[in-house]
């Protein structure tokens, strides 16, 4: 098929932030995750664990606790002392209430989701009511000295358990009084260090489970104030606890990166007497596991090594197949890199700054696998720091490289970049139009004449770019029916006639740019869209869904193409469907109209529509086999998917010109070296 000159880029210094807390919503099968930089992410387990929503962080808004309450409303609280509600349609904060007790360390919602309780630095425990449009302070509970590090409601909502340093308390909700106080170190003689109760769980059987800095998981009978059982799971801290809905399984996260499962099992077969037994240890993390969650069928853990791990429990899974496989997520499911094809520039998006790089070049050619000598090294041109505490939502560089745009929660910035020889100057475009912010995705037109801004309520703004450095608002495209969801992906056709937009409701709207009108909607497919792009010649829209399906929709004809129907009839290869990361970018080769270039984290694929689709018996990854075969024998073995797994993990791939690719890799080892050292552990034999 051909040779590519691959620019293998590893200088994107992205370090994902560690996972601070998790909140599992069983009814909608969604997981809310907060990172140490304040970012909140929503994972949809029903859509193949797709990270469907991201609310970027804020320097002054750390998140120490997340709760689902009042249906599908998400609340967060942190060391700023403020309780925040997140607007999941507009991907921003909707209302904030000051807790009034200093930094908030913990928060818990009751079973019915009508009340929130927070634990503060000053030792106060405050009760809030969840009301439409926000929360309302209800009352203070009994206050004692010492920060409240963890809180749990009894399932009957009559009592609250609170963990502090060296002590755990049980409070009566109706009277607000402390009804039991347990010194967790009472049983240990002469302990010098303080014992921090890191996490607490209140079981329906009036048993309280705590995990503490001594690495113990302890079961207390709160009415008598006695220790029932104690399991030492780790030599360092046991940081987090979560219990299953049936209360027969507990997952514990420790600071050594190990997680353990404890199960309530009969003492012997058929016996009614049950005991908690430590059953399974897992070591998926290298650093502290600060957050765990327990879904019906899986243990979920998040660590300071930025990994989210979903480990299915085999005994809970109906079919031991691909669905039960271990899932590990390190990288975001969206693009943080944009590329100026013509100018050969890359723009990297970090939480609070952007970096613009120029790619190097070579004048040699070579054979497969060869590393070519560089004529010019890559060059770091500009670092653009965002002012203020807000983190960046999205960014983009124009194909010609002379425009850069980015947006934070409240501000939109457009810059004009001038290149004179080796010097680069950058000028801010002064009066940008006031738009409905934040912007969720930015996309320049191929000829760099206009900018498309994905915005809230399904709308897309079009800005016209003016020389030498100005812009004006041209039009706003809106979907035919009102939707609260924001647009999170955009695709613009090369001829500038069409734009496609996907919102949080997964509906794909196509607008005509000639008359600024809604053109059509792609037939509804109930799965999240992970990437889409419009073919430069045929104007076919290629869509990748979270369940790994691929569709091709002809915009002029307003229907799926024949090839797309063939794909649906034959079905995709089993190994293709079982990949565990999502397609995050699609691009095309204008010289080879039948080629579609796509990538996920672990592979890059050229999909050649002119070749037959592989059936399940064929080898999907056949490149190495093909290379062995003589030219004549290859014909029979060829199929549409040409997959390359040499470059991993991939954050971005784009085609610069006919046979020149850029691949942005971020080796896990490079991230690991940026992380603080994990808790030292003795390894056997060293």
């Amino acid at each position: 098929m051909g040779e590519f000159e691959v620019h293998r880029v590893r200088f994107f210094g992205l370090v994902p932030a560690g996972v601070r807390c998790l909140a599992w919503q069983p009814r909608s099968a969604r997981l809310a995750l907060a990172r140490t930089d304040g970012t909140v992410e929503i994972y949809n387990f029903a859509a193949n664990y797709f990270q469907e929503k991201v609310i970027p962080g804020h320097d002054a808004r750390s998140v120490e606790a997340l709760c689902w309450a009042g249906g599908y409303r998400l609340f967060g609280a942190g060391l700023s002392g403020i309780i925040t509600e997140y607007d999941l349609a507009r991907l921003s904060t909707s209302c904030s209430v000051d807790g009034g007790g200093g930094p908030i360390w913990s928060m818990a919602a009751n079973g019915s989701g009508t009340r929130l309780v927070i634990g503060c630095e000053d030792g106060s425990i405050k009760l809030f009511q969840v009301v439409p449009g926000g929360i309302q302070f209800e009352r203070n509970l009994d206050r004692r000295k010492g920060r409240i590090l963890c809180l749990a409601w009894h399932p009957s909502e009559s009592h609250i358990a609170a963990g502090s340093i060296d002590i755990l308390r049980v409070l009566d909700v109706s009277s607000g009084q402390t009804v039991q106080q347990i010194m967790v170190n009472y049983h240990v003689q002469k302990v010098q260090r303080e014992c921090v109760v890191w996490s607490i769980v209140f079981l329906a059987s009036s048993t309280i489970v705590t995990s503490d800095s001594f690495g113990r998981v302890q079961f207390w009978d709160w009415q008598r104030g006695t220790l029932v059982e104690s399991h030492t799971v780790s030599t360092s801290s046991a940081l987090s606890l979560a219990v299953s809905e049936k209360e027969d399984s507990i997952v514990v996260g420790t600071s050594t990166g190990a997680t353990y499962q404890l199960q309530l099992l009969p003492v012997r077969v058929g016996s009614l007497e049950k005991r908690w037994v430590r059953t399974k240890p897992f070591q998926h993390h290298t650093h502290d596991v600060r957050a765990v969650a327990h879904s019906g069928t899986a243990l979920i853990s998040g660590g300071l090594d930025a990994q989210l791990v979903i480990r299915s429990l085999m005994e809970k899974v109906q079919k031991k197949g691909y669905e039960a496989a271990l899932r590990k997520f390190t990288f975001p499911h969206r693009r943080l890199v944009s590329c100026a094809r013509k100018a050969r520039l890359l723009l990297f998006q970090f939480t609070q700054h952007l970096e613009l790089w120029r790619l190097g070049s070579t004048d040699k050619t070579g054979k497969d696998g060869e590393v070519l000598p560089l004529r010019r090294m890559p060059e770091h041109l500009v670092q653009l720091k965002s002012k203020g505490p807000e983190h960046i939502y999205c960014s983009c560089v124009s194909p010609c490289g002379s425009w850069i745009a980015y947006s934070t929660a409240s501000r939109f910035h457009l810059y004009r970049v001038h290149y004179e020889g080796d010097s680069v100057s950058i000028a801010k475009v002064p009066k940008v139009p006031k738009l409905l912010l934040p912007a969720y995705q930015l996309q320049f037109a191929t000829d760099s004449s206009s900018l498309f801004v994905a915005s809230a309520r399904g709308s897309v703004h079009i800005l016209q770019l003016l020389e030498p450095g100005g812009c004006k608002h041209l039009h706003t495209l809106r979907p035919p029916s009102e939707t609260p969801e924001a647009v999170y992906l955009l695709a613009v056709s090369a001829d500038g006639h069409w734009v496609a937009a996907v919102g949080g409701d997964w509906a794909i709207h196509i607008y005509s740019l000639k008359c600024f009108k809604h053109h059509c909607t792609v037939p509804n497919y109930s799965c999240a869209v992970t990437a889409l792009a419009i073919h430069p010649i045929t104007n076919n829209l290629v869509i990748a869904y979270a369940d790994q399906q691929l569709f091709e929709f002809s915009i002029p004809e307003q229907q799926y193409t024949a090839w797309s129907r063939t794909v649906q009839n034959c079905g995709l290869h089993r190994l293709w469907l079982e990949r565990d990361t999502h397609i995050t970018h699609i691009t095309f080769n204008p010289k080879n109209p039948s080629h579609i270039l796509l990538h996920d984290v672990y592979m890059f694929c050229v999909l050649d529509k002119s070749l037959p689709l592989p059936d399940n018996s064929a080898l999907l990854l056949n490149q190495s086999t093909l290379k062995q075969l003589p030219e004549t024998a290859r014909k029979r073995q060829l199929h549409a998917f040409k997959i390359c797994k040499k470059f991993q993990p991939l954050l971005f791939v784009d085609l610069l010109d006919e046979n020149c690719l850029v691949m942005v890799e971020r080796p896990i080892m490079d991230i690991k070296t940026q992380l603080p050292l994990p808790v030292q552990q003795k390894k056997f034999g060293t």
Binding site: E5, R10, G366, L372, L374, Q623
Partner: protein
């Protein structure tokens, strides 16, 4: 545990060679060099592959309308390829030949069944009529008459071996549901015909065989999906009659209710076979899979599904399986370790020590002796062994089991027969190796032999005893008198073998062996036959008193360079012992002492015995240990080359033991003093050398780290080809 490793595709196959019966390849044979295979398809083509490179090196095909009927083999002596097309036309060519039309051609007078090529021996041609010729003989007169031996039987399978200097060709034939096995020894031109024991309702479908210790083991896969084992002794005295070979069930190919419908199988080692077949559970679609079975424990060790189907053929060379999978020829590597209970619980001993037999049924063993021992009552030397008394007590109350009685009774009957008949009978007994308590039976046979030796001082069947000890997994406790008799007869060869093979020799006997080995004169030893395997690679067996030089250069590592390093570190100390130091004992004695060094012992128990060693012998032994120690330290990995050679820690342990036992003697003896001072100097030099090595370790690690960092550049432009 055996495990299947990763697989890769060697090549794609043409349309004719696909999945299903009748498809597949004609054969896959080993190529002229390691890692090469020769593939012959069912058409006109043969291809030579380098397996690890997955690359074809050469391809030859015959003319259109001709067809290769006999797989291409490589003549390992001349590096030529030999093939037969159209049944009778023999072709021989070399690597550089391209066109098969122009290479050597000979038309034979009869149809060829197969050509077998062995690593050190020319190819052997087996004709469809059962005639056998070596290629050399055949080429002298290609049109020579070939006899028809098997009349209307049809050859189903054939295989060739080398045992000793002897070429052996073996083939199986079928006629009207009866199966026959022929064993042809080429040198003596003797042919034996055997009939396979009949089995109701099932027939053998596939064969494989291996040879070990003058015994051919034939494994047959029957159509009832079981593997049977047939033993065929090579030394056969009864020439005339056609024998029926008894068979014993080795393996039942069933996995939790579902049967593995095997199509072919290969032997991996003495405990493992690999079977290719389709696994059909009731009510489900059958799945083809490749499996590895442990025959010792009758368990399925590992399996791999082959969803694309196979042609039912399986080959195995150099720890790799070859089979067709879908439209390609797949190579799959495997690991096969000796399985034992010890390995399962992580207590596997050093691999140099011989395997311990898996189990001995103590009850049956006891019963055996009840029958066997009353006859040898007058000379029950075993009474002196405390271990044995317990057993004989139990014997008096134990009941005689009918099954084992037969062996016991046969032994009783044999008491008075002549020596030759006696030995022949014992051989017969052993070849029926299928009894579940086989170990116990062998124990009885040995006991019978030893008892006979004791009653008749002139009788000593050395060869028979050697053969039994070498071929069977025996232990000391199974035949405690054997070593006592050997010690009495000063049969050093048998003692050596026993020391190498028995895992449980008491310290007292080890000491007795050591004493015998040290005291026996060199002149006497030179006449005896001793296994010199353990010393052959570091002592010149010719043994002149010149300096012994080993020239092992590892991966371009120069021996001189190494010495230079030593020199620069401590010039005098390391050189002094190396110069002019020769082995203080003869090669035979050295080999015998090595056997002692390698056997297992406990310090506490051997020390009191060792104190009895005469001073001169102790010094000689210490001198030899010192010599070994210096030899070991010559090389960077501090190991002696060769099989069964002692490890450095064994040598040092024995040195310490000897010094502990003879401390005062060593201090007093003038000739020992010099030796001790040399020893001290050498050890001190070594300690210094290692401490220097320790110092540079940090720097080397840092260098390695730097080297590693260089790999991960942040930017490069590479070429990627997608097909």
């Amino acid at each position: 545990m055996a495990a299947l490793c990763e697989s890769f595709t060697l090549c794609g196959l043409g349309p004719g060679a696909g999945v299903g019966l009748g498809g597949g390849l004609l054969a896959l044979e080993p190529g002229p060099e390691p890692d090469h295979v020769l593939l012959t398809d069912r058409g006109r083509t043969a291809t030579l592959f380098k397996v690890s490179d997955q690359k074809p090196l050469g391809c030859w095909s015959v003319k259109h309308r001709q067809i290769i009927t006999c797989p291409v083999v490589c003549n390992f002596e001349t590096h030529e390829y030999v093939a037969v097309h159209d049944d009778k036309v023999l072709r021989i060519w070399k690597n550089q030949d391209i066109n098969l039309d122009k290479v050597f051609k000979a038309t034979l007078s009869a149809d060829v069944y197969r050509i077998h090529s062995l690593p050190n021996g020319g190819p052997v041609v087996l004709f469809k009529g059962g005639g056998v010729r070596t290629l050399d003989v055949l080429l002298e007169a290609p049109q020579q008459e070939i006899e028809n031996i098997i009349s209307d039987e049809v050859i189903k399978w054939s295989e060739a071996f080398i045992e000793g200097q002897q070429h052996i060709l073996m083939f199986a034939t079928e006629k009207d549901g009866d199966f026959f096995v022929y064993v042809q020894k080429l040198k003596t031109n003797s042919l034996h015909k055997y009939q396979l024991e009949q089995q109701e309702l099932s027939k053998p479908t596939s064969f494989t065989a291996y040879i070990k210790n003058q015994m051919i083991t034939l494994l047959c896969l029957y159509s009832n999906y079981s593997v049977y084992k047939v033993l065929i002794p090579l030394q056969q005295n009864t020439e005339d009659e056609q024998q029926t070979l008894p068979k014993s069930l080795l393996l039942n190919l069933s996995v939790s209710g579902s049967v593995l419908k095997a199509t072919s199988f290969v032997v991996l080692d003495k405990d493992h076979v690999a079977v290719l077949g389709s696994l059909a559970a009731s009510g489900e679609e059958s799945k083809e899979c490749l499996t590895i079975w442990n025959t010792k424990f009758q368990t399925l060790q590992t399996s791999k599904e082959l969803p694309l189907g196979t042609s039912g053929q399986l080959w195995c060379y150099e720890e790799k399986f070859f089979f067709t999978h879908g439209k390609v020829l797949t190579v799959m590597m495997y690991k096969c370790e000796t399985s034992s209970l010890a390995a399962a619980v992580g207590k596997l001993k050093d691999s140099q020590t011989p395997d311990v037999s898996s189990f001995v049924d103590w009850n049956t063993l006891g019963n055996e002796e009840l029958v066997a021992s009353p006859q040898s009552q007058p000379s029950v030397a075993l009474k002196s062994e405390s271990k044995m008394t317990l057993r004989s007590k139990r014997n008096t109350v134990a009941k005689v089991q009918p099954d084992t009685l037969s062996v016991g009774q046969r032994l009783i009957k044999l008491k008075d027969v002549s020596t030759t008949v006696f030995e022949e009978e014992l051989r017969q007994l052993m070849s029926k190796a299928q009894m579940p308590d086989f170990q116990a039976t062998i124990g009885c046979v040995i006991t019978a032999l030893v008892n006979r030796c004791k009653t008749n001082p002139k009788y000593y069947p050395q060869n028979l005893l050697l053969q039994i000890v070498q071929t069977r997994d025996l232990s000391y406790s199974l035949c405690p008198d054997l070593m006592a008799v050997a010690l009495e007869k000063k049969d050093v060869h048998l003692l050596q073998i026993c020391l190498q093979r028995f895992p449980d020799i008491p310290e007292e006997i080890i000491y007795a062996c050591l004493q015998v080995f040290l005291s026996i004169s060199e002149a006497c030893l030179q006449r005896t036959d001793v296994n010199l395997e353990s010393i052959s690679s570091y002592i010149d067996t010719e043994f002149d008193d010149k300096e012994v030089k080993t020239e092992v250069v590892e991966n371009g590592f120069n021996a001189e360079l190494e010495q230079d390093i030593c020199d620069s570190k401590s010039p005098e100390e390391t050189r002094v012992p190396g110069d002019g130091e020769s082995c203080p004992v003869g090669p035979q004695k050295a080999a015998l002492l090595n056997a002692v060094l390698s056997s297992a012992y406990s310090e506490t128990f051997i020390l009191p015995h060792l104190k009895n060693l005469p001073a001169q012998q102790a010094v000689l032994f210490l001198r030899y240990l010192y010599y070994l120690h210096v030899k070991c330290s010559e090389k960077i990995d501090t190991t002696l080359p060769g099989k069964h050679s002692p490890a450095i820690n064994q040598i040092v342990d024995w040195m310490c033991l000897l010094l502990d036992a003879h401390f005062t003697v060593m201090v007093m003896l003038p000739e020992a003093r010099e030796l001790l001072s040399k020893l001290h100097k050498f050890v001190r030099a070594q300690v210094r050398f290692y401490s220097e090595l320790n110092k540079i370790e940090g720097s080397l690690q840092e260098l390695q780290r730097l080297n590693h960092q260089k790999d991960c550049q942040t930017y490069s432009i590479e070429v990627l080809e997608l097909i």
